[in-house]
Symmetry: C2
Subunit: 247 residues, 2 copies
């Protein structure tokens, strides 16, 4: 079972105050890029893997999805997500992505935001998603970028000119990373970009788009703290399609 840090009260107290939890999708600067990777949701059945408070699940329904299944390991998250909607076409359920088991060929879209880096066996996960999608189905997800994750506990340095510099080490050493983020020893799993992409291809997906988050000048003007995110990629965004023609 994946580590469930989200039900640690100390962690949750910090986490729920993040801009993206207070302001929702408007507080997630990578959202415009992610949104552009998603298909037209009209009439599609979607699963939101690691749905958290359900911001994207609700956005999908507001944009025409026929149904959304939001899954999260955290009771805190699911309780709060359920409290935000009375929409009978959104179902929130507690589930462990390390043991994901969905009905076959039941979704046109699988989505996940900043969750897959908590999953130990990425190959198992994407094969389970592949079975749950219809042929031609869409998988769109974001993870912490491997460059950001490689050196656990890394902090910004400055070069001789004072430019922020991000230290990378252990990039090719895949496996567990422990970091302190609202709680001590949060467990993540580092995989290279090549492993991430090749695992998808081996599971029958075609890569449709990659994204690496960088803030726009407008975003930096509005949130100057984002400026350093130009220097290193913080999030990796992937759009992939399952092989085969849609039914």
């Amino acid at each position: 079972m994946a580590q469930n840090v989200y039900d640690n009260p100390e962690f949750f107290e910090g986490y729920r105050q993040l801009p993206r939890q207070v302001h929702g999708l408007d507080g997630a600067p990578e959202w415009p890029v992610v949104r552009a990777m998603l298909p037209d949701m009209k009439g599609l059945r979607a699963v939101d893997l690691g749905c958290g408070f359900g911001w994207v699940s609700r956005w999908m329904r507001e944009n025409g999805a026929a149904s959304v299944l939001g899954l999260d390991l955290s009771e805190n998250m699911i309780a709060r997500a359920r409290a935000t909607t009375t929409d009978a076409a959104i179902e929130y359920r507690i589930a462990d992505l390390d043991a994901l088991d969905l009905p076959a060929r039941s979704f046109e879209v699988a989505f996940s935001a900043l969750t897959f880096h908590y999953v130990a066996d990425f190959g198992r996960l994407v094969r389970a998603i592949g079975r749950a999608l219809v042929p031609g189905g869409h998988l769109v997800f974001t993870i912490e970028h491997p460059v950001y994750m490689a050196a656990a506990g890394a902090t910004w340095q400055a070069d001789a000119a004072g430019t922020p510099v991000w230290p990378v080490s252990g990039y090719s050493r895949e496996g567990e990373r422990r970091t302190d983020w609202f709680a001590k020893g949060v467990l993540k799993h580092h995989r290279t970009i090549a492993t991430t992409v090749n695992t998808l291809i081996d599971a029958g997906f075609a890569i449709a788009r990659l994204g690496e988050f960088a803030p726009t000048p407008e975003q930096v003007a509005a949130r100057p703290g984002l400026a350093c995110e130009i220097e290193r990629p913080m999030f990796l965004m992937v759009a992939a399609r399952l092989a085969g023609r849609p039914d």
Copy 2:
């Protein structure tokens, strides 16, 4: 026209003494991964873009390619490549990849080693390659990894524990990078991984495999200087296939 540093005598004198130029493919530690990305060469027509001394062009013929066209901007390179073979099925020719113009649907394989990061307009280049390949044709190439290239002039640092750390900055700032490598101000063009992959997809290629070079324990034992390459990805390797069924 691309900068032709390879015909700078000072540069060439240093360059020709690199392990990979003295020992050929055995001196290129990423070659086993690259070789595994190439198709069975038997009967295929190949173009080697930035062929240098022709190591890979000759390997392709030794492994059954019907013909190989080796292109390089440098007269030094092409003269030396020509001097290494009397094989009439290998042609070496001076050409600028910034203005690449090949006959349509004439190759089953396009290959390039550590050259595309010198090309300013990657989109133009891959569209030209796409026209030159038959449907289903293979494009396999290596470039300096964007993580390695992002901070021009970066050098290894050490963290508090003495581990080698590679400083990344300017990752999302694409464009020219000037570095001193056997000569002053060698001009390269930095692009993110996302741009590299998306440009290929937009030109009609499907991503077949990504690789990020890391030395094996055996390679580190034989060449201890390679150990640091576990810490950061130095080369990006890409295998892609042009859409469409082979004729």
